[in-house]
C-alpha cells in the first residue's frame, strides 16, 4: 500500500550528519587544521582563491577542509560567501611591473634585464614518488634567495614594443565592467572576457588552450614572460584624496607573444595574449593567455574558423564551473512531473507506431 512519502526534512538532516562524519574520517587520525591546509596545500588554496574570485588564503583553506578536498565545492563555498560581502570600492589597477617576483621566466629571450628566476617550480623535478615524505616531512633548508627588486624586472613585451614588432597595448582608463554585478551580455569586450577567464574552471580553460595548440584556431604562442610574485594593492581613499596601500596579493601573470602574419586591417607583427590569476597558478595563467588570444580574432581581423576557443559565447557561457556543476548536478533532483508527461507521450507515440497510424499533417 502506498503511503505518501514524508520525512524529506529528516532525511536531509541525517545526510548532513553522515556527511560531517565522513568529512572527519577516522578520529584516531589527527584532524587537519586550516593552517596546515593553507601552508601545505597552498596550490589548492590558490586555485580556490582564483576561481572563487576572493583573495583570502584562510577562508580558501577552510573551504577546502569543509569540502573534503573537492575543489569545485570549495570554490562554490567561497563564491557564496563572497557574494554577501559589502563593497567598499575598487582598488587602483595593480602594477605587475612592481612585482616582487618569486619566479620570472621568459621563453623568448635567453637573458634579459632582471634575469630568469626559476622559483619554486615543479618544472624540472623528476616525477618520482618521494617515499621519504611518507616517513617524515623533513625538508632541507633552501638557500636564501638573492631577491630581485621591483625596478629590476621590466616586462619582456616592452622590449618588442620598442621596435614596434608587437601590437601596441594602448592605455585605457575606461572602468571595466563587473561580471559579478552585471549580467553577462554578448558581445563581451576584452576586459570582460579576461574577467570571466580568470575565474574560469582551470580544466576547461586548459582544454580550450590545448585545442588551439593542436590546430583549432592555432595562434602559435610563445611564453614571452611568466611571472609570479606579490604586488601591492592600492586604493584611493576619498577622504584622503590619494591612494594608500591596503595589502598585497600574490598573482601569476602570463604574457604570450603570438605569431601573426597580418590581416586586412593589421600589419604583420607579434600579437598578445594575456593571463592574470590570483596565487601561484601558472597552468591556468598560460591557458588563459592562449584562450584570450584565440578570442581576439575579430579585433585582429582574423578569420573565424569555427574553433570552440574562438567562440566567445561558447567559452564564456560554459567556463564557469559553479554554473556548470550546479546545472549538471541538478538532474539529480526529482523530475517526476516532466518524466510523467514524457511517459505519456512515448506511450502515445508507440501506440501510433504499432497501429501504423500516422496522420498526414501536411494534408
Amino acid at each position: 500500500m502506498y503511503v505518501a512519502v514524508k520525512g524529506g526534512e529528516r532525511a536531509i538532516e541525517n545526510a548532513h550528519a553522515w556527511l560531517a562524519e565522513e568529512r572527519r574520517g577516522d578520529t584516531d587520525i589527527a584532524e587537519l587544521s586550516v593552517a596546515q591546509i593553507r601552508e601545505q596545500l597552498s596550490l589548492a588554496v590558490n586555485r580556490v582563491m582564483a576561481e572563487g574570485s576572493l583573495y583570502d588564503p584562510d577562508l580558501a583553506a577552510l573551504a577546502i577542509k569543509q569540502a573534503r578536498g573537492d575543489l569545485i565545492e570549495a570554490i562554490f563555498l567561497i563564491r557564496a560567501y563572497r557574494t554577501t560581502l559589502p563593497r567598499f570600492g575598487a582598488s587602483e589597477p595593480v602594477d605587475t611591473g612592481k612585482m616582487t617576483c618569486d619566479r620570472r621566466i621568459s621563453a623568448t629571450f635567453k637573458d634579459l634585464p632582471g634575469g630568469q628566476v626559476l622559483g619554486p617550480t615543479f618544472d624540472y623535478t623528476h616525477r618520482l614518488l618521494d617515499f621519504k615524505l611518507a616517513a617524515d616531512g623533513e625538508v632541507p633548508q633552501a638557500p636564501t634567495r638573492s631577491g630581485i627588486t621591483a625596478e629590476d624586472v621590466p616586462h619582456v613585451s616592452e622590449f618588442l614594443n620598442r621596435e614596434g614588432l608587437i601590437e601596441g597595448a594602448p592605455h585605457d582608463d575606461t572602468p571595466p565592467p563587473d561580471l559579478t554585478r552585471e549580467p553577462l551580455e554578448m558581445p563581451a569586450d576584452r576586459a570582460l572576457r579576461l574577467q570571466a577567464l580568470t575565474r574560469a574552471d582551470e580544466g576547461f580553460t586548459l582544454g580550450l588552450a590545448y585545442s588551439t595548440q593542436r590546430g583549432y584556431a592555432r595562434n602559435h604562442a610563445f611564453v614571452g614572460e611568466l611571472r609570479i610574485g606579490a604586488v601591492p594593492v592600492e586604493m584611493e581613499i576619498p577622504e584622503l584624496g590619494f591612494a594608500i596601500e591596503v595589502g598585497e596579493v600574490t598573482v601569476t601573470e602570463c604574457e604570450t607573444v603570438n605569431q601573426f602574419k597580418g590581416s586586412k586591417t593589421e600589419p604583420p607583427q607579434f600579437t598578445r595574449g594575456y593571463g592574470l590569476v590570483f596565487g601561484q597558478t601558472e597552468r591556468k595563467a598560460i591557458s588563459m593567455a592562449l584562450v584570450d588570444r584565440a578570442l581576439r580574432w575579430e579585433e585582429l581581423g582574423e578569420d573565424f574558423v569555427g574553433a570552440p576557443a574562438q567562440d566567445a559565447e561558447f567559452v564564456l557561457y560554459h567556463a564557469d564551473n559553479i554554473q556548470a556543476t550546479g546545472f549538471l548536478e541538478h538532474i539529480k533532483l526529482p523530475h517526476y512531473v516532466d518524466f510523467q508527461s514524457e511517459l505519456e507521450l512515448v506511450r502515445k507515440l508507440r501506440r501510433e507506431a504499432e497501429t501504423g497510424h500516422v496522420q498526414e499533417a501536411a494534408e
Binding site: 500500500m1 502506498y2 505518501a4 512519502v5 514524508k6 520525512g7 524529506g8 526534512e9 532525511a11 536531509i12 562554490f76 563564491r79 557564496a80 563572497r82 557574494t83 554577501t84 559589502p86 559579478t180 554585478r181 552585471e182 549580467p183 553577462l184 551580455e185 554578448m186 558581445p187 559565447e313 557561457y317 559553479i322 554554473q323 556543476t325 550546479g326 546545472f327 549538471l328 548536478e329 541538478h330 533532483l333 526529482p334 523530475h335 517526476y336 512531473v337 516532466d338 510523467q340 508527461s341 514524457e342 511517459l343 505519456e344 507521450l345 502515445k348 507515440l349 501510433e352 497510424h357 500516422v358 496522420q359 498526414e360 499533417a361 501536411a362
Partner: protein, 285 residues
C-alpha cells in the same frame, strides 16, 4: 531560528532592489526576459537560485511562504528552500496553497485556483524557449526583438508531420499577449492553461542564465498551436488513487515487483485536502 548574520531573506537590500527593478520591468513587458545580475546563492545553480532570488526580493516579514517541487511540499529540495527562508527571513511557512501569499514552485502550478493576494514564483532552468533551436543567446535575443518566431512554428509543424501531433509534453511554449514567445518553465503542458488570466502575479527566475520574466495578473497566455491541430492539455487517463480526483495532474508510481502501478495527485496539498474532506480513491487505505 532566524540567522542574524545575514540580511532579511539573505540578500542585501541593494541586490533586492536590483532584482525588484528587473521584476517591475518584467511585469511591464510581459514575457520579455529581463537580464539581471544574478548572485551566487548558497545553493547550487540549477537548484532554484533564480526562484530563490525572486522570492527573497518579494518576501516581506508578514508573508506566508510555500515551496513545492514537482507539486509536493515534502520533496527534498522544496524542504531545503523552505528551511532556507525560515532561517534567513523567519517568515511563516505553510503547505496549504490557499494560506500562502508567496508560493515558489518547480515544475508545477498548484491545482487550486490562485487569488490576487498571491504571487507564484517559478524556478526556471532555461528561460529561452528558442534555445534548443538556436544555441546562441545573441541570435535568440535578436529573434525576440524582431518577433521572428518562424523557427518555432516550423519545429511544431515538423512534429505534426512526423508524429501527427506536437511532441512536446512539458515546457510547452506559450505566446504572451500576442507578443513574446515564452518558456513556461518545465511544467507539464497540462498546467499551461492555468497560466492564462491567472489572478495571481507570476514571476519567473532563472539564476544561472541571469534572466527574470513575469506575467501580471489576468494576462493573455496562449499555448502555441495550429488551427487544425489545437493545443491539448493532457494527463494520465486515470483518477487519483488516493483522493479520486479526475481533474488533477498525476504522478505514476511503481508499487510492486511485477510492475503494478498507481496514479496519485502530484499536488500533495490538493490531494490531502480532498482526502481530509472525505474523498477516497480506489487505492486509499
Amino acid at each position: 531560528m532566524t540567522d542574524q548574520a545575514y540580511n532579511f531573506a539573505y540578500l542585501d537590500e541593494q541586490t533586492k532592489r536590483m532584482i525588484r527593478r528587473a521584476i517591475l520591468k518584467g511585469l511591464a513587458i510581459p514575457g520579455y526576459q529581463v537580464p539581471f545580475a544574478s548572485r551566487e546563492m548558497p545553493m547550487p545553480y540549477g537548484w532554484g537560485t533564480g526562484g530563490v532570488q525572486v522570492s527573497a526580493a518579494v518576501l516581506t516579514p508578514d508573508d506566508t511562504f510555500k515551496v513545492i517541487d514537482q507539486g509536493a511540499d515534502d520533496t527534498t529540495n522544496a524542504v531545503s528552500i523552505r528551511t532556507f527562508f525560515e532561517r534567513t527571513a523567519g517568515v511563516a511557512t505553510t503547505t496549504a496553497t490557499a494560506d500562502a501569499s508567496v508560493i515558489q514552485t518547480r515544475h508545477r502550478i498548484p491545482e487550486d485556483q490562485l487569488s490576487e493576494e498571491q504571487i507564484l514564483v517559478y524556478q526556471v532552468p532555461i528561460p529561452e524557449p528558442l534555445r534548443f533551436l538556436e544555441p546562441r543567446e545573441s541570435e535568440t535575443r535578436k529573434m525576440h526583438s524582431l518577433e521572428e518566431y518562424g523557427l518555432m512554428h516550423v519545429k511544431l509543424y515538423e512534429d505534426i508531420s512526423c508524429h501527427g501531433h506536437i511532441a512536446t509534453s512539458y515546457a510547452y511554449p506559450v505566446r504572451v499577449e500576442g507578443r513574446y514567445v515564452m518558456d513556461p518553465s518545465p511544467i507539464p503542458k497540462f498546467d499551461n492553461p492555468k497560466m492564462a488570466d491567472m489572478a495571481a502575479i507570476q514571476l519567473f527566475g532563472a539564476g544561472r542564465e541571469q534572466r527574470i520574466y513575469a506575467l501580471p495578473p489576468y494576462t493573455k497566455v496562449v499555448s502555441l498551436d495550429f488551427e487544425d491541430h489545437p493545443f491539448e492539455a493532457s494527463k494520465a487517463d486515470h483518477p487519483c488513487g488516493m483522493c479520486g480526483a479526475e481533474d488533477s495532474y498525476l504522478d505514476e508510481l511503481i508499487v510492486d515487483d511485477t510492475g503494478g502501478r498507481m496514479f496519485v495527485c502530484s499536488d500533495t496539498d490538493y490531494c490531502e485536502a480532498r482526502q481530509a474532506a472525505g474523498h477516497k480513491g480506489k487505492d486509499a487505505a
